[in-house]
Symmetry: C2
Subunit: 478 residues, 2 copies
Amino acid sequence: MSSFAKMHQSNLNASLFGLSLDRHSGVPLHAQLTQALREMLRADPAAAGERLPPSRALAEELSVSRMTVTTAYDQLIAEGYLSTRPSGGTYVAEDLPHLAPPAPRDASHSQPHAAQTWLPFQPGLPDQALFPHRLWARHLERAWRNPDPALLDRPDPFGWPSLRQAIRDHLAAWRGLDCATEQVVITGGAWDGFDLIARAALPPGALMATEDPGWATMGHVLAASGITERPVRIDAEGLDPADLPPETRAVTITPSRHFPTGIAMPLTRRLALLDWARERDALIVEDDYDSEFRYRGQPLPALAGLDGLQRVIYMGSFSKLLSPALRIGYLVLPERLVTPMRTAIATTGSRVSMVPQPALASFMASGEFATHLRRMRRHYAKRQRYLLSELAGLEDYLQLQPDPSGMHLCAGLGPALAPFGDRAISERAKAEGLTLRALSSHARLPGAPQGLLLGYAAFDERALSTAANTLRTLLKTL
Amino acid sequence: MSSFAKMHQSNLNASLFGLSLDRHSGVPLHAQLTQALREMLRADPAAAGERLPPSRALAEELSVSRMTVTTAYDQLIAEGYLSTRPSGGTYVAEDLPHLAPPAPRDASHSQPHAAQTWLPFQPGLPDQALFPHRLWARHLERAWRNPDPALLDRPDPFGWPSLRQAIRDHLAAWRGLDCATEQVVITGGAWDGFDLIARAALPPGALMATEDPGWATMGHVLAASGITERPVRIDAEGLDPADLPPETRAVTITPSRHFPTGIAMPLTRRLALLDWARERDALIVEDDYDSEFRYRGQPLPALAGLDGLQRVIYMGSFSKLLSPALRIGYLVLPERLVTPMRTAIATTGSRVSMVPQPALASFMASGEFATHLRRMRRHYAKRQRYLLSELAGLEDYLQLQPDPSGMHLCAGLGPALAPFGDRAISERAKAEGLTLRALSSHARLPGAPQGLLLGYAAFDERALSTAANTLRTLLKTL
C-alpha cells in the first residue's frame, strides 16, 4: 500500500484501493473504474467534500495506467460527482447530484443517463474502437478551417449539397439505387426521419404497419411523430401485404435484412408489396440500416430501386456504418414528395447540425468511407465466424447458422432451452454481465417467436471469447 | 474579350461574360455569380451538356479572382447543375435538376432550397465573417483526434456532460442563473426543444400562449410539436398574465429582450407572470436568444433565476451567439422535470449529433467563447451606432433610437411613412435587394403595430452604408 493510502483511512479510499478491475471483461478499465467510483459515491453521501487519492497513487494501487484514472476522474467531474479546487486535488462534490434512483428505462433500447459501456452481445452497434478517428478529425479540421462560405450562410434545409451528392453516389455504388441529389434529405436519424415523413407525406395520425417482431423503439418514435402504429406479424418471407388492414396508409419494412431475424425478403414478396402500395396509393418506408455489411453473395438491391422511387421512401443512416455519435441519417424521396417535403421543412427549418456534414461529405468523396466499410466488413465477417466456432457444440441450446450479412446472429432456442423462454434466459444473462436480447422482447403481438440475439460486430475476439465462455457456463447450468 | 470567349459564341457563355457583379452590394461575389449562373441554367434547358469557360478565362472576363469562379462552379457541381468529366472541364449537367419553380416559402423565416446570402437588414443573424473558424476547427480536430471513449460509447441522451457543464458555468457568469449540470439538456434548436417540452412537461395539445407580435416561425414549430398556440397581444411591458385564457397551460416569452420589439420586461410584470404560473400550476418557457449582446447597463438576470427554476424552463441557443450552422440549443429544466424528460428521451433517443458537442465544450471551457462574445459585442455596438448615424435625418420616416442591446433595431413608422403600411414598404425594399422585415408580419392578431426591423449585426460598415443609402433613396421616393 502506498504512503498516500496509509495517510487517508476513510471508507472511500479504502473501497477505492480495494477495487478489483476485470481485465478480461471486454469493458475498458477506465469505464469500470468510473462506474465503480460513481456507485461508491452514490452509496456514501458522507463522502461529500472528501479528497480523492491523487491519480498517480490510485493508478499504482490498481496497477493501471494513470490515464485510466484521470479519464475516470474527468468523467465524474463532468457529471458533477467530483470537483477540482484551485489549490489542486480532486474532491467529492459537496452536494452530490441525483442520488435519486435513475429514471425508468425502455427495456430493449435503454439509454442510461450517464455514459456507459456496451456489453457483449449488444446488437446493432459498430466497433467504436475501429472508428477512423484520425481521418475523421482531419476532415473536420479541413472543412472548418476555411469553411465554404455557404456553410455559414443560408444552408439548404435538405442538408449540405456535397453530402447529399456523396450519399447519392454511395447508394448508386453500394445499393443499386439511382436517384438525384435533389431527392436526398439529411436527417438527425430515424426519429427525425419519421417525423419529417409524417409532416410531408402522411395525413395526421395515419396508420402505419410495422414488422412484428421488429425494432423495439419504433412504436415510441412513430407515436412521437404523430403516426399510428399497427404491428403486423411477419412470416418466413417478411411482411405479407395480405395481412395489412385496409386503412393502412404506409408500411415500414427492412427488406434487405429483417431486424432482428435477418430474413431477406424474396423478390416475389417485394413485388407484391409494391403492387399493394400502387393499388392503395400507399407509401413504403424502406429502412436499410446495415445492408453494406454483406459477407457472401450479391446483396439484393434496395427495394426503392426496384420501385424506381415511386412509392418507396428509402431511409439510411450512418449509425451502424460509422458511429451512432454522428446522429446523421437520410431519406431518399420519390420525386413527387420533394416539394411537399421542402414546404414542410420550410415552416420549421432543419434540426440537423451542419458541423459534421462537410466532413462526412469529404470523407465519403475521398473514398475513405468505402475503404472503412470494406475493412469493417472483413472484421465483422471474421468475428461472426469466430463467435460461431466459440459456440460450437451448443446445438442442444442454440440453433445457430452462418449469416451472409449483418452485425448479429439470431439464434433459435434448442430443445434444452425451450422450457425456459427467451426472456428468462435474457434476464439470467444480464446478471452475468451479458447483454443477450430476447427475440420475443422485440414483438408486441402475442405468441412471438423465441430466440436470442448475439451481436458480434462491436466486440473483438478476446471479448467474444470471454462472453462465449460465460454464456456456455450459464446455459449448461440453467 | 479573351480568345476562349471568341471560340464559344453560345448564349450561355455570352450571358456569362456579360454578367455584371456588384462589388458594393454586401453580397459576396462568388454568391452573386452562383446565383446568376444558376438562374441562367434554369432559364436555358438547351444549355444541357454545354462546356463552361475555364475558371481562369471567366475570372479574367469578370475581373474577379479565380477562386470566386471555382467556388461558384463547385457549389453548382454539388447542387447537380454542373458536372466535371474525366477528360477535364466543367459542363452543364445533361439532365438539369429541379427546373420546377421553388417550393412556397414562409414569408418571414424563409429557408430557400439552395444556399443563398443574407441581405441587409436581415435581423437575428450573427456576422459569419467573424466566425472564429480557425479556433473552431482546432477544437473539433482535438476533440476527435483522440476521442474520449465515452463519446463513441453510450452517450447520455441529455448531451455531452462537459458541454452541459460549460453551459451551466456560462449561465452563472453571464445570465445570473444557477443550476446543476443535471438540469441542462442539449437540443437541436428551438424546434427540438419545444418538441421535448411537449413530450415531457405538457399534456397532448396543451394550450400555450405566445407573444404577439413575436417569432413568426413559432406557430409552425409548436404545431409540429403537438402544442396548441394562442398568440396574445403584448403591451408596453410585454405579455400580461391578465390577458391569458383560463385554459392556458404554458406561455413562451422573451422577457430579456422581446422579439422583435426589443422591450425588456420590467420586474413587476415578471413577478406577476411567476405568480400566475404558481397559481395555475402552469409552465413558463423563457426564450433567451441573444441577451449576451448588451451594450449598456446591467442586463436583467434571467427570469428563470428569479423563479429559482421552479416554474420556468430556460431555453438558450448558440445560433445567434456563434452560428446557426451549429444547430445547437439547450434547455435548463426545473428539477422536478428532469426525470420526466429522461423518461421521454429514453423512449426515442436524442436527435442531436455528438460531433460538435465536445468541441463546443472545450471552446467554452477555454474562455475563447467568452472572448468571442465580448468581441462580437464591441462590433455589434459599433455597427448599431454606425447604422443610426447613416440613417440620421430620416426622422419623418423612421422612428429610431439607440437600443442598449440586441442585433437589430425596431423602427416605428414616421408621419411620412404612415400612409403606406410596413408590409408595402417591406415589399418595395425587397425589389431593391433589401431585407426590411415588417413588424406587422410578425403578428397573427389583427391591428398589429407597424414598424420595420433593421438588422445590423451581420453586416459590416460598407454593407450597412450601401444598404442605408438604398433605403434612404427608397423612402424618399415612395
